[in-house]
């Protein structure tokens, strides 16, 4: 312990001495150890991945909405992936949905969301100079980058990227005979995921250590902003579940390349019987979903944390039920590990096990419901300022309700029999996990952009972006519920082979058009983001009149965040519109002893102690 403290102190001294030294381009922008720059690296990489992932969805929405369309004009880009009639090849269609899922879940919503904001906000909001280990943090980004390069390259190889669905269930993903994407593309997918997991673990250890050890004076756990709580718990979930995905991937590598039979048994394919016996594809599903389900909360919790902060700040009210919010996040964290098999109700799982997982799954709806009610109460009797971030946060709560409630259908094993792997599931998770987390990401970008780049994003463009995206997302995903209830299976290239699924061509066309418009609206965001970075209005010190510590740093904080001493924290981060206070916000750095007019009863006591401590401190000085 003592050595750690010493190192920490010398670290701080070091920064105090050199805080305005010039860094070379490489150490400032590329191999940087500054958490703020690393956060931005994650953000920009995440945005690039987002563009790729979303464009893929445009391609398969063309196929689903306009199956007759001739894509000959895309031949220079897609080449052999188009059939001779100028349509998307069925196998390429599967590759598209697979890569869309992989990219959006892991590279955009895990790395792009949690990677960006955990890195950027944790030290700034807890009052630390940097992450516990800047070097590990740098490694975390560069492993992610390496993983990105490998995953991106796999799109351009001849046999195509992995195509067995983002869950890559064996035997399909283990046998190149079964689908071309399970050849080199799948190998690259696995290698990329291994590096990705390494990156997430390095990052996660860092987030946890930093939150536990580097909080500034006075910043107790009960004074942490909910953003930090959410990043902290997200990192805990990641740290416990990603290694299991690593194990699953490793066994799959062994089955694919070294002749083992962990997942393979009794297979006759391509005119020959394979020697593998005794393996179980169900084992893979258990291992995969042991990460896969917590993964949902890995992308969800940071978004909810950001929302808590943004909604409280902009409705000028303390978040309602701060402790209940923490409690529900803790509940979600624990429960997220014991619900995985609800993805496997019809996999041949023992029905008794199915009942157990049904009970556990529906319990997790309770803390989620508590969170929704707390958000609603926070808005109630607020004085709401609609910044673009507020709008996205309110939209997020709306998705949380819509997508969360459909989870109650799917978590009920008997209803899941019919809805499993239909468009109902697609609608459910795109609302509650996809769109919700993207909205959390966007809210975060709009809210912390002034801190990141010292400039403001354009509000009006933000509003247009929000309304087009919000309406668009509902018009894309809400109709999918009807399609799903009608039984349309997902990952279908076309439905015309079935009488039962031959209706709804009009609705699918409508969904596709809504998707194209919504995607186009994202160009407004991209323009706003990059334009404002250089030409936006200069940001004031505290543009949203917020309480948290990051707004006490210089407008463009240097390496080490605060030029002088670290700020001290005297109160929780949600003293908005406190009765008696002159302003409608009191930053965390304002001592209780200086605000006697607004202190609550128990705070008057604390203020007295504060005063005593101050005088004692003052006496020592003389």
């Amino acid at each position: 312990m003592s050595t750690a403290t010493e190192v920490n102190i010398s670290h701080e001294v070091h920064h105090d001495e050199h805080h305005d030294h010039e860094q070379s381009f490489i150490s400032k922008y590329i191999f940087t150890m500054d958490h703020k720059m690393i956060g931005k690296q994650f953000l920009v990489t995440g945005i690039v991945w987002g563009v790729v992932g979303v464009l893929m969805s445009v391609l398969f929405r063309i196929q689903l909405g306009f199956p007759e369309a001739n894509l000959e004009w895309l031949r220079p880009l897609l080449g052999g992936w188009l059939t001779e009639a100028g349509k998307i090849d069925p196998e390429f269609y599967l590759a598209l949905v697979t890569m869309h899922g992989t990219i959006m879940v892991f590279f955009v919503l895990t790395a792009g969301l949690s990677g960006t904001f955990s890195n950027y906000l944790i030290p700034l909001q807890i009052g630390a100079r940097d992450m516990a280990s800047g070097f590990m943090n740098m490694l975390s980004y560069w492993f992610f980058f390496l993983s990105s390069v490998i995953m991106m390259s796999s799109i351009f190889i001849e046999t195509g990227p992995a195509a067995g669905g983002w869950v890559v269930y064996p035997p399909l993903s283990a046998l190149p005979q079964a689908i071309a994407g399970s050849g080199l593309g799948m190998t690259m997918w696995l290698v990329a995921m291994v590096f990705f997991i390494v990156s997430m673990l390095l990052g996660g250890i860092n987030y946890i250590t930093t939150v536990i050890n580097l909080r500034t004076e006075g910043m107790s756990f009960t004074r942490l902003p909910l953003t930090i709580w959410s990043f902290f718990l997200t990192a805990v979930i990641g740290l416990l579940s990603f290694p299991v995905l690593f194990a699953a991937a490793l066994l799959l590598v062994l089955d694919r390349s070294f002749g083992t039979s962990f997942y393979l048994s009794d297979i006759y394919i391509g005119g020959e019987a394979l020697p593998n016996m005794g393996g179980s594809p169900i084992l893979y599903q258990h291992l995969f979903w042991f990460l896969g389900h917590p993964e949902v909360y890995i992308v969800l919790l940071p978004a909810l944390g950001i929302t808590s902060e943004v909604i409280a700040t902009n409705s000028r009210k303390p978040i309602f039920g701060y402790r209940a919010m923490i409690g529900s996040m803790l509940g979600i964290t624990v429960l997220s590990f014991v619900v995985w098999a609800h993805h496997m109700f019809v996999s041949g799982l023992n029905p008794f096990l199915g009942s157990v997982f049904m009970f556990l799954t529906l319990i997790i709806a309770v803390p989620s419901a508590v969170k929704v009610f707390n958000y609603l109460t926070t808005l109630w009797k607020g004085n709401i300022i609609f910044t673009p971030a507020t709008l996205f946060s309110i939209g997020l709560v709306s998705f949380f309700i819509s997508g969360g409630l459909t989870g109650i259908f799917l978590g009920n094993s008997v209803i899941d029999i019919q809805l499993h792997d239909t468009y109902f599931v697609v609608a459910h998770f795109h609302l509650v996990m996809g769109s919700l987390s993207i909205f959390g990401l966007l809210a975060g970008v709009y809210h912390w952009f002034p801190k990141m780049f010292g400039r403001m994003m354009d509000e009006k463009l933000g509003y247009i972006h929000f309304w087009m995206t919000f309406i668009g997302v509902y018009l894309i995903f809400f109709p999918m519920h009807y399609i799903g209830i009608a039984g349309f299976p997902r990952r279908y290239y076309s439905w015309t082979n079935f009488d039962a699924f031959s209706s709804y061509t009009d609705l699918n066309m409508f969904v596709s058009i809504a998707a194209f418009v919504t995607v186009a609206a994202q160009l407004i965001f991209l323009f706003n983001f990059f334009y404002s970075m250089y030409r936006g209005k200069r940001a004031p010190q505290n543009p949203w009149r917020s309480n948290t510590l990051e707004w006490t740093t210089p407008i463009e904080p240097g390496h080490g965040n605060w030029p002088g001493e670290l700020p001290k924290v005297y109160r929780w981060p949600y003293d908005y519109s406190k009765p008696g206070a002159a302003d409608d916000y009191i930053p965390q750095t304002v001592p209780l002893s200086s605000t006697p007019e607004s202190n609550l009863d128990h705070e008057q006591e604390l203020a007295k102690q504060e005063k005593l401590a101050n005088t004692a401190h003052a006496k020592k000085q003389f």
Partner: protein, 351 residues
């Protein structure tokens, strides 16, 4: 030329949009909007939330009622009606919560938008409220879970003794169907003896296999329990018969099953839907490769007596492929001949 015109048009449009953007931001600077806490947009956004609520709410109810017949597939199995009950109960409960919370969310957003003269209420916590909205959802969910669990145990209960066992095997990219024949027992299989004709890998060392027969469609009787014995021989597949609310994965190396009772024959359903072309279908719902979307199999439900008649008419696999008699072990050959009737023909030939 045409392409060039499109590109020019797009560039021009973007340039105009950019100009509008620049001018409007200059105007807002000139007006000094940037120093105010909120601009006029605040009111507009608040109003838009209400508009969104009303508009989307209308679309939701209108479409849900108008399209009910189209998205709600008719039910043709016994447990299907229990499923429907569960589904629509959940729909009612979640629907109420959905409408209420969305109304509150958008109404609060609009109602409590920023006003210069007002101040937000400092209301950090209320334990009573937290307890209420922890326990109320918990109880409601407990009821839903409990009813769901009872249906689930019914649906997944072990098959009754008198069930009609039928095998359905998935492979890239089709289903194959095998019936147990007169003895009611499906013969053993072994994936290592699969060949082009014996696509199931029927093991002819097992006596039960001699009267097994295959058929191009899935034919089942109405009103009797039927058990699908589900297998896959290459990758994962999933048997999905939407009208029967039936789904179960087909897993290589791990046989699964699903037992149900059909309640309407194909003819009855045709009459009900007024569609003489109607057929029950089986689809694949587990991604299995290039042809995943084309794994269609017809399913025919017959009246029990029709079914018996049809069943009795079928020739066994061995009868149709007598060359496989050579795979039968020597000591069982006589039995196989007897069971399949092949023996008689052989004897006749000899005479």
């Amino acid at each position: 030329m045409f392409n060039l015109a499109i590109i020019l048009g797009v560039v021009l449009l973007l340039a105009i949009l950019f100009l509008i953007f620049r001018i409007s931001s200059l105007i807002s600077v000139a007006k000094g909007n940037s120093n105010k806490i909120v601009s006029g947009s605040n009111k507009i956004n608040g109003a838009l939330f209400m508009l969104f609520l009303v508009g989307m709410g209308f679309l939701f109810f209108w479409y849900s009622f108008k399209e009910f017949k189209n998205y709600n597939l008719p039910v043709a199995s016994e447990h299907g009606s229990q499923y429907e009950f569960m589904f629509w109960t959940t729909m009612a409960v979640t629907g109420i919560v959905f409408v209420l919370t969305q109304i509150l969310l958008f109404y609060f957003s609009w109602k409590y938008q920023y006003k210069k003269e007002s101040k937000a209420l400092f209301y950090p916590e209320n334990n009573k409220l937290e307890v209420i909205w922890t326990f109320v959802p918990a109880i409601v969910l407990a009821i839903l879970v409990f009813t769901g669990w009872r249906v689930w145990t019914d649906v997944t209960a072990p098959a009754p003794e008198n069930t009609n066992n039928i095998e359905i095997m998935g492979y890239q990219f089709a289903w194959e169907i095998r019936y147990p024949g007169n003895d009611g027992k499906l013969g053993n299989t072994d994936y290592r003896i699969i060949d082009a004709t014996n696509s199931f890998g029927i093991d002819f060392a097992d006596k039960a296999s001699y009267d097994d027969f295959t058929y191009r469609e899935m034919v089942i009787p109405k009103g009797e329990p039927v058990t699908f014995n589900i297998r896959a021989r290459d990758v994962l597949h999933s048997v999905f018969a939407p009208h029967f609310r039936l789904k179960m994965d087909a897993v290589p190396g791990m046989p699964t099953s699903f037992t149900f009772t059909a309640t309407k024959t194909t003819e009855e359903m045709r009459a009900e839907l007024n569609d003489p072309e109607f057929n029950y279908e089986i689809a694949c719902t587990e991604i299995c490769g290039r042809g995943h979307f084309s794994m269609a199999k017809n399913l025919v439900v017959l009246e029990p007596d029709e079914y018996q008649k049809w069943y009795a008419e079928q020739e066994s696999f061995l009868q149709r492929n007598p060359e496989y008699l050579s795979k039968v072990p020597a000591d069982l050959k006589e039995l196989a001949m007897l069971k399949t009737g092949l023996g008689n023909k052989e004897l006749e030939k000899q005479n």
